[in-house]
């Protein structure tokens, strides 16, 4: 009987391990992608990319990671389970921000030199359209219903609202200076934009198409993660993550992390937030309940992880 219980527990452990989260972290300096097993808290693979990879977007089903290389001017399609690059698609200009449509395609790539978004079909491996937006589009995000694409236009101090069906910009929303990362909540009601130049986060009401609040954070915010009714914001120059309440917008705390924190995302179970520390070459795990760093996992050199980089394994 005792043995059976032990066996059952063992089975649970195995099952738990099999569907743990994995992170796909772009290492810009070492030119590769780190695959980190987040349950075990350790790296499990390194995938060569080239061209100074920066942006990443994992598909909703977790099967693909799309990686931008702004120097190499490519979009790499990565098979996440096989840990290999399936294709590299040439895109013009400076591909940086990237997002995948919730249905799995197309893939949107922000070109921050030519001020447009390239629409890429991952099946035909080609650019099928260009969408004109503001200056230096950076972070991209698609609403959960798949109808709307947002682009943080860094040098216009605006967020562009793009209609996915017509592939046309339908609105421009004024935000703070130098908006960079943009994150949409699970209901598709609000978007949160990190403003590098004004050290704050703009909160956008997507139905009203306007900024409804501006929340101060610390020096040079980069990107935002949303979980448990809180926003977690990386501050590149303060080496911290600012946490604020999504209802009152009151600041809760600042969590010290590694040097130059950049990409940030919540785990799929909502229990943790992972932060990529560009200078420190680590991924910090923040416990959402205690708001403390509980682990640092080594990455390659210069991890940026700009975008959505976590997948749940099948």
């Amino acid at each position: 009987m005792k043995a059976l219980v032990a066996l059952a527990a063992f089975g649970l452990v195995l099952a738990g391990g099999a569907c743990a989260d994995e992170a796909f972290v772009t290492n810009q300096s070492s030119d590769d992608l780190s695959v980190l097993d987040l349950a075990a808290g350790q790296p499990v693979a390194t995938i060569p990319i080239g061209g100074r990879p920066a942006g990443v977007a994992v598909s909703t089903d977790g099967a693909r990671a799309y990686v931008t290389s702004p120097e190499g001017k490519t979009l790499s399609i990565v098979d996440t389970a096989a840990r290999k690059v399936l294709a590299q698609i040439s895109v013009a200009g400076g591909p940086l921000g990237v997002a995948v449509h919730p249905s799995g395609k197309p893939v949107y790539v922000a070109d921050w030199y030519n001020h447009k978004i390239h629409v890429v079909d991952p099946d035909s491996k080609s650019v099928t359209a260009d969408i004109q937006v503001g200056l230096s589009p950076s972070g991209l995000a698609v609403t959960p219903d798949g109808k709307t694409l947002l682009s943080a236009d860094r040098d216009s101090n605006e967020v562009s609202v793009v209609d996915v069906a017509t592939q046309k910009r339908t609105a421009r929303i004024k935000v703070g200076d130098r908006p960079f990362g943009v994150t949409i909540d699970a209901k598709g009601e609000r978007a949160y934009v990190a403003n590098v130049g004004t050290n704050n986060v703009s909160v956008i009401d997507l139905a009203k198409r306007e900024t409804v609040a501006t929340v101060p954070v610390d020096e040079r915010p980069y990107a935002v993660a949303l979980v448990a009714g809180k926003a977690f914001v990386t501050n590149q120059y303060a080496n911290s993550v600012s946490v604020f309440d999504l209802t009152s917008f009151a600041k809760i705390t600042d969590i010290p992390v590694g040097d130059y924190p950049e990409g940030i995302e919540a785990s799929t179970d909502g229990a943790s937030v992972y932060v990529s520390n560009w200078f420190a070459n680590t991924l910090s795990k923040i416990d959402v309940a205690t708001l403390k760093v509980v682990k640092d996992i080594p990455t390659g050199d210069g991890p940026r992880a700009f975008g959505t980089f976590i997948r749940k394994t099948p």
Partner: protein, 176 residues
């Protein structure tokens, strides 16, 4: 000639239109040196944002705000040229401060969006000085000319750090 004019025009736009415009790949570097002196003795030399006379390339430091966050300084270099900087954090207990360049001509230092940190650490009674830098190349767009490339930026910053740390070591060990 045409290219140079275009490059100059592009730089002018970069400087005027968007002070924060930069290339796509941030560079990092870290230089360290061991100094045969107690950390507080080394900190006494480097731990003042308003005095960079320990660096051989610096002819004059002028500034305001002391060592408070937001303090500024203007460094005049030996061969002419100026660099303006702002103090970001200052922690005397940890013997560390971080700062950023707010204004520099790429002909003086071929970087943009430069930030840096100096730390004095204890190394068994001796000191280890760590100088970290994070910056983008001087050219704000893709396909930079060689003198404003990622490599040129890193080489220039490494040169500044190495010269400074070696002079610091010589000054402190020579004086003790």
């Amino acid at each position: 000639m045409k290219f140079q004019l275009l490059a100059a025009a592009a730089l002018a736009v970069g400087a005027a239109g968007a002070a924060d415009a930069h290339g796509p790949t941030r560079q990092k570097t870290e230089q360290t040196i061991e100094i045969n002196a107690a950390p507080d003795k080394v900190w006494a030399v480097v731990g003042n944002f308003q005095d960079m006379s320990w660096h051989p390339a610096i002819q004059k430091t002028e500034g305001s705000g002391g060592n408070d966050k937001g303090a500024t300084r203007k460094l005049t270099l030996q061969g002419g040229g100026v660099i303006e900087e702002e103090l970001n954090t200052f922690d005397a207990a940890k013997m560390m401060y971080s700062y950023r360049i707010t204004n520099v001509d790429v002909k003086v230092l071929p970087v943009s969006n430069y930030s840096s940190k100096i730390t004095v650490k204890d190394a068994g009674g001796k000191s280890q000085v760590v100088w970290d830098g994070a910056f983008y190349r001087g050219f704000p767009n893709n396909d930079p000319p060689p003198e404003l490339s990622d490599e040129a930026a890193k080489k220039a910053v490494d040169g500044v750090y190495k010269a400074g740390l070696e002079a610091l070591k010589k000054k402190i060990e020579g004086g003790s």
